[in-house]
């Protein structure tokens, strides 16, 4: 069974299998027998791998598995292969301005139909108590700015969309 994980922003693929005795993690680097045993404490396990027993605490969230290991906490993102294959058909990546963090719209400086130049501020957002200007990634025509001043938005919300470039 194949899985794609995201660790520190990098995607990693693995394959879990069972050979009758052991669970095996199949990675591009090889097959590694591994085992996870509960310890009795909430979320506590011993992970046995490569001849080492490692205490971990873990919790399975909706999009990521959180692992506390060696005094650090890691979010291991679970990538849905189906979703990744579907790709994004809602326009080229540089047509969209996506919220870098959750926040509130301070002001909108352009409207649909406006011709904008690369670097021109389209809207100002506030997150973390700081103002950030979001600029046009290229010359083009504004297709949509779905939020108004005062609206709040979530992480990765589309804040502005440019019309597709005419080839």
């Amino acid at each position: 069974m194949q899985r794609i994980f995201q660790i520190d922003g990098e995607e990693a693929e693995c394959w879990l299998s069972h050979d009758g005795n052991n669970m095996n993690l199949n990675t591009p680097d090889g097959v590694i027998p591994c085992q996870l045993e509960p310890t009795g404490t909430p979320g506590g396990y011993v992970l046995r791998m490569r001849g080492r027993a490692q205490n971990v605490r873990l919790a399975v969230g909706p999009d990521a598995t959180f692992v506390h290991l060696n005094g650090k906490t890691y979010a291991v993102g679970r990538v849905d292969p189906a979703e990744r294959l579907a790709g994004n058909d809602s326009g080229a990546a540089d047509d969209r301005i996506v919220a870098p963090m959750p926040g509130v719209v301070v002001s909108v400086n352009a409207k649909p139909g406006d011709h904008v130049k690369e670097g021109q501020p389209l809207l100002v957002i506030e997150s973390m108590k700081l103002e950030t200007s979001l600029i046009a990634p290229r010359d083009g025509v504004v297709a949509e700015i779905p939020f108004a001043a005062g609206d709040s938005f979530g992480l990765k919300a589309t804040l502005a969309q440019l019309a597709p470039e005419e080839e």
């Binding site: 069974m1 899985r3 994980f5 520190d8 922003g9 990098e10 990693a12 693995c14 394959w15 879990l16 299998s17 069972h18 050979d19 009758g20 669970m23 993690l25 199949n26 990675t27 680097d29 097959v31 590694i32 591994c34 085992q35 996870l36 404490t41 909430p42 979320g43 396990y45 992970l47 791998m49 490692q54 605490r57 873990l58 919790a59 399975v60 969230g61 598995t65 959180f66 692992v67 506390h68 290991l69 060696n70 005094g71 650090k72 906490t73 890691y74 979010a75 291991v76 870098p100 963090m101 959750p102 926040g103 301070v106 506030e126 997150s127 973390m128 108590k129 700081l130 103002e131 992480l155």
Partner: protein, 489 residues
Amino acid sequence: MTISKILVANRGEIAARVLRTAKARGLATAVLRHASEQEGPAHLIADEVVTIDGPTPVAAYLDIPQVVEAAKRIGADAVHPGYGFLSENAAFVAALEEAGVTFVGPTSEVIDLMGDKIRARAFVEERGFPVAPSAIEDDDPATFVERARAVGYPLLIKPSAGGGGKGMRVVRDDSALEAEIDTARREGERYFGDGRLFVECYIERPRHIEVQVMGDGQGNVVHFWERECSIQRRFQKIIEETPSPALSEAQRLDICETAAGIARAVNYRGAGTVEFIYAQDGSFYFLEMNTRLQVEHPVTEMVTGFDLVAEQLRIAAGEGLSAAQADIPQNGHSIELRICAEDATADFRPAIGDILLLDEPRGEGVRVDSGILDGGKVTTDFDPMLSKLIVHAEDRAQAIARAREAVQNYVILGVTTNTGYLDAILAHPDFASGDVSTGFLAEQADTLTAPGEDLSDLLMAAAALSDERLVSDVMQIPEMHRKMGGWRN
């Protein structure tokens, strides 16, 4: 004026912390809670929880008539404002006075004076205390830009009504001055409803050192020593400690006595903090005075042995200070880490999520002031600070070691936090030697967020083996196929 019932007009860790002391002093206690807010530790401690409402949760906590009405309705004879929200709002203090409710804090006049950076600065300067070279817009708006230029570069623009680093801009080049003034003015207008600015000389590699003071409003003021708060991201502190590793004994007495002198000059009542900018050459300048309890007050409590909230409540009840200056020691070393829901590798972007597992560190010299509960939800409704981890040990090296062990054992799963980043700061040789400035985190950004040892095999195994559906699917594959294993598509 005795106090028998107190309303804590705040939330999160500080509400819980104030309620604990109030309860220990035998007061009846109440705390606010917005209708959409998660249950937190404070709601479990308080005798009474008063629901407030508003267009946003923050707006509800800032709604003066509603908060005053809540205090009257439940028969509270005092209100503790915590920090943030209405804690430095003179209109709130005046409204409570009118309603006959005691405000745990200074008078509205002192809040007004110290809340206006320009007036505060002028007040302090007139009385002979040190301030940095500056230009104040209000003195003559027409020549402000010109006078700002005369201060020289680099310079720092600040909203006169500001705080918390909001609207502050460093300008290093004359060509950027006017544009940065416009931006700072806009931010000032939006955050504080006041676009007036001032400019001061920007001190390179400064340290931020502040002094805890306490006054009884009858002319008696004592200090509870200094706190070093130079470890800041986006002008906001994330690690604080006391004593400051920068100060000699003579400098320590000088800066602490200066702070107490400033507090004496306003006949200060309650807990306050005088903040200074400390230059590498040992000179220091008055920055501002915060007329409330600070987030980082626990490090002071750890080295002095005093409960600062208990002192606040004594003073509010007219019982005065419990100690004279000579009775206030500075024992050992204490460090506070602010645990925040944010991604230090992505420009400190606030993180949200459900707290799936919470296990706080415990042990000798370890204190956790927490605003979260296991199973809670972290939203963007409030500040990203979840809790504070405070340690105390005999000396600085032992305090750092203790802080590292504690933060490594602080398990918060379900939302990204800065625990690993805080540990990386504590592990940095410049932090260990104490050679830091307020620019430390920005200068060392790459080192502090560098990926550690590659543990991706272990992490993938943990994630795969804890995926119940995956494991059950794998176990159901017939024996023959199992043996084939390996890569197939």
